[in-house]
Symmetry: C2
Subunit: 224 residues, 2 copies
DNA sequence: CGGGCCTTGTGAATCATTTCACAAGACCTG
DNA sequence: CAGGTCTTGTGAAATGATTCACAAGGCCCG
């Protein structure tokens, strides 16, 4: 197994997802091969970056030709672990939870929300499509029964830490966390934070700065 | 004005947001000062990192004491551009748009959704709270009238590029983009992508790898 | 008011990521 | 099958970010 030259960085992984989506687009457009330069253009990076990213996992291209769209898609899906179905538990049946439950791109990637939990008794028992909302005290049995290793947390910050710990105790190994706090969990648990206010704040910073002190901003003018 | 020793990185900016939130928590807990180490603990980074991040913008701490919670909060808000109100246009009145409209943490940071646009005639004219949904052909006038420099894009990928260009033409300078495609806009326009499927895929990668080839994974066991 | 204790701010060193540059192949054409 | 053209895969160089380590200050106590 001659793969894995050096360990891929977090950013490499994230770009693999982008390459995968770009390849799907190219496939729909009828392209059967793609050069690293073409892929880079679609994803907003450089050709060298694409090649380096892919090289961490093997040699998928043909010199002089580029990469074949369909096979590379398969490879990327396998690398990312998307060749299988992932049962997911959604905790928090609020607005964001509801939006994510309907989010079509999850299903397209094998992520299937198989259970919904909420602490609000008024919501428990309702059905969203095929899935009935369960009370929080069924957390452990639900996670266990459905063999869910992934969870999405869309609850207010004040319950998040406890729920996260319960999820981990029940067998969850990866959490997509929308609660705006830093979860403290064992290091082997993978947590991805989505902090929407933070994203807006990053925009605010950039606009604020650009509006008031444009002087120091170079980069684009001096050539490359 | 002796600020700005070197240019802060994107990651530094994002951590500033985290520090700000941590400081708010500390304030509520009654703390009046915070050391870089305490802040680092709350945010999941190192004390040196906190100090280096802050040092890009000035000297806010007192040696021997640490940082005063309330004043540092004010400084961070100013650095991030949060000392003012930001009118925001929301494009896409679907599930995600609805969730974001209700999202309490936006308002708490001065981001106010002042207009909603949707291409679906069935939605146009409805009210969400105080805001009525407008048709897409009012995009330019709405952005202009409300002086919105920020927009949130929660529409399907197939319309996103055109809408983004229209927003920019109307005066928008920053976009929070939920559409899973790479927007092609002038470089002075700030775009932050929130790609939810990608976040799940990053989790999937980590779990997939951890489950199948644990051998190469070191870091935690051997200590350092 | 001097000594001890803390914690900042920051150059220097380390570590990580990205970019460069080019040899090694692969295909095509004649 | 040789020569031309293209594009990969990859060490090496350049750039960027984080961590280290410590001098400079500030506070408190006696």
């Amino acid at each position: 197994m001659p793969r894995r030259r050096s360990k891929p960085s977090e950013s490499t992984i994230r770009r693999l997802s982008l390459y995968l989506r770009a390849l799907e687009g190219l496939g729909e457009e009828g392209e059967s091969t793609a050069s690293s330069e073409l892929l880079a253009g679609r994803v907003g990076t450089t050709a060298a970056q694409v090649r380096k990213d892919l090289s961490h996992f093997g040699s998928f291209g043909k010199r002089g030709l580029g990469y074949e769209v369909a096979p590379l898609q398969v490879h990327l899906k396998e690398i990312l672990g998307l060749h299988r179905r992932w049962p997911v538990v959604l905790v928090g049946a609020g607005r964001i939870g509801s939006a994510l439950f309907e989010y079509p791109h999850f299903g397209a990637r094998g992520f299937e929300i198989v259970a919904i939990l909420d602490r609000d008794p008024a919501k428990v028992g309702r059905r969203w499509g095929e899935v009935e909302i369960s009370p929080m005290d069924e957390l452990e049995s639900v996670v266990h029964d459905r063999k869910a290793e992934l969870a999405i947390l869309t609850i207010p910050w004040d319950g998040a830490q406890d729920v996260a710990e319960a999820l981990v105790a029940a067998g969850v190994r990866g959490i997509l966390n929308f609660a705006p706090l830093q979860l403290r969990l064992p290091p082997e648990i993978e947590v991805n934070d989505v902090n929407l206010a933070l994203e807006m704040e990053a925009l605010s910073f950039a606009l604020h700065l650009g509006g008031s002190q444009v002087d120091g901003v170079d980069a684009r003018s001096g050539e490359g």
